[in-house]
């Protein structure tokens, strides 16, 4: 929606400016309190340097920070073609310019989030719990919601805010500690100059105010914006899928899941589809909450008569009493009818979802003759491993030096190590270990006679 995109751009610029002002003020007051009168300028400069560093960090690696914070694994198309197809479908329905990268998080609690600084660097992450518990319509609803966040540039603003918020919290902590311990020493020397005493007291007070209230106000600002956004993303998502019941039933299933996510924190919580810090997203609905109540969202979605923005607006007015979408966007949204549900089940089983994670982490799958299949972690150094069920000693699939040929040519002294050999056992996905310890995978479509190890660069002949 054009208004939302423009509003987010305005808010991003506003946030960057406010951050600069707040950091400058915090620096100034901290400087006055810690270094003494006249030290405020130094503090101000330090504050601005911190702001510049923050902006640099944001511009270069904002998503990587947030994705690593959640232990997310990037997926390739072959890892889960069905997940890629679902995201691709939503890309077409929403008219996104670029296909977002897809990440999987190993967590049984179903949840999803979207990050991205600009259209080229967007990413969507889903948990393994989401992928095996929701059927295709429900998953499509969740992905549509995340795609709406990307299309409306919410993810852009939230990524910026998450990075800024994290650093304000840290800085406020530092300032508070310094002001508390440093201020007492200063006040003795300041009481000698009677004139400056009053100004000093005010600055001391301001410093404390910033240190204590700063993070609180930042959080309020952050959460206040994001509640309305969740409803708007629900509205746009329904328009893309033409099937609001999909998202409604997905939210219902997610709210019934009884676990919280260990990798989310207060700074990143608003990015998720339901609040990950509360089981099933069931947080008390207050001015501090980052998401609107899931029950309300489900109610609005289920009372929609059609699938357009106008239908969502009508359902929202009936359930919540106020208006949501601006007239500009509503005017051009025609009446759109809801489509029939597809009856496809979940796109991955729990086992397959785990396998994708293991493959991404470089685990080696090994099968014993007693029927047990298990995974050997990367870095395991022995050649053999015992089956945990029957005690059988199994070889770890590895690339080995080729057998010596009978007629040995006169040894040529070369720098490069001789190539290794690996014999394929079938036509499917296979993983084996290089001599340096790195796990290498070959896909069913791999037909070349050799492959190079990513880690040590050794050539391995694949036969």
């Amino acid at each position: 929606m054009w208004e939302q995109i423009r509003a987010n751009r305005r808010r991003s610029i506003l946030l960057i400016t406010i951050m600069a002002v707040v950091l400058a003020l915090m620096g100034y007051t901290a400087g006055e309190n810690i270094v003494g009168p006249g030290g405020g300028v130094i503090g101000l400069l330090v504050g601005l340097v911190i702001w510049a560093v923050q902006m640099m960090v944001y511009l270069t690696s904002a998503e990587s920070i947030l994705l690593n914070h959640a232990y997310a694994q990037e997926l390739k198309r072959e890892d889960s073609p069905r997940l890629f197809n679902v995201v691709d479908e939503m890309r077409l329905a929403s008219g996104l310019e670029f296909m977002p990268r897809i990440y999987l998080v190993d967590d049984p609690a179903p949840n999803a989030f979207a990050v991205g600084r600009n259209p080229e660097t967007t990413a969507i992450a889903v948990t393994s719990g989401l992928v095996h518990r929701l059927n295709r319509d429900e998953l499509q609803g969740v992905i549509a919601h995340e795609t709406a966040h990307l299309k409306n540039r919410d993810a852009q603003f939230m990524t910026l805010a998450a990075v800024m918020l994290g650093s304000i919290v840290i800085l406020a902590e530092i300032v508070r500690r310094w002001t508390w311990y440093g201020g007492r020493g200063r006040s003795r020397s300041n009481s000698r100059g009677g004139d400056g005493g009053q100004a000093q007291a005010i600055i001391l007070l301001l410093g404390l105010v910033f240190a204590i209230l700063g993070p609180l106000m930042a959080q309020l600002l952050y959460f206040a914006c994001s509640r309305k956004r969740e409803f708007l993303a629900d509205a746009c998502g329904s328009q893309y899928t033409r099937y609001p019941e999909g998202l409604a039933s997905a939210l219902e299933k997610i709210s019934q899941a009884a676990s919280t996510s260990s990798f989310a924190s207060k700074a990143t919580a608003p990015l998720f589809i339901v609040n990950p810090l509360y089981a099933g997203g069931d947080e008390p609905d207050s001015v501090f909450s980052s998401h609107p109540s899931t029950a309300q969202r489900i109610r609005v979605l289920r009372s929609m008569a059609g699938a357009s923005l106008a239908d969502y607006e009508e359902a929202y007015r009936r359930a919540m009493g106020g208006g949501l979408i601006g007239r500009g966007s509503l005017g051009s949204a025609p009446q759109q009818s809801i489509r029939a549900p597809s009856n496809e089940g979940p796109i991955e089983t729990r086992h397959d979802a785990q396998n994708i994670i293991h493959r991404a982490h470089g685990y080696l799958p090994v099968q014993c003759s007693c029927g047990l299949k298990f995974s050997v972690p990367e870095g395991y150094e022995e050649d053999h491993i015992r089956c945990v069920r029957c005690g059988n000693l199994l070889p770890v699939p590895a690339a080995v030096p080729p057998p010596e040929t009978a007629a040995a040519a006169p040894p040529v002294i070369t720098r490069a190590q001789p190539p290794l050999q690996y014999k394929r056992q079938g036509h499917g996905w296979e993983s084996f270990r290089c001599q340096c310890g790195r796990t290498i995978q070959v896909s069913p479509g791999f037909v070349a006679p050799y492959i190079y190890c990513n880690n040590c660069g050794r050539e391995i002949q694949v036969t």
Partner: protein, 187 residues
Amino acid sequence: MPIVVLLFVLVIIVGGIMLWIAGAYNRLVRLRNQLDNAWAQIDVQLKRRHDLIPNLVETVKGYAKHERGTLEAVIQARNLAVSAKTVAERAQAENVLTGALKSLFAVAEAYPDLKANQNFMALQEELTSTENKVAFSRQFYNDNAMTYNTQIEVFPMNFIASMFSFGRRDFFEVKAEAEREAPKVSF
């Protein structure tokens, strides 16, 4: 003196109108380009569907030699779809192809070996997903076509539209009857 003031005011008014015309023209151009882009997307997905079909037919032939009728129907429908030209013709041909594919998948239900074949399962997923993608890109195109058509027909803009020849765009329709028909399987 008053003549100068009058001329000045006139220049400003004319300037204002020119600016508005430029703005409106730009908006229409942007909408039309977005629409062309959406059409190109549909093209990409349709072409992908056409490219997947020979592979599917070969896979099925290996397991279900007796189903010549269904296979031939699919191949014919595909060739028709590839050679269609106008929007209406293409929409019609694609609907026929969708019907033929539905019959083929229904027939494949009777061959458990075929259903378990990895290749066939991957192709089935790809085709289902491509159908969905065609549907979604068509949806996006139709939504934008609606916005565009409305824009060139509302009161102030219709002058500009006719001045610079912005034409109305057809919708990519689905014939509901053909799609909703359940395929008949005969043994």
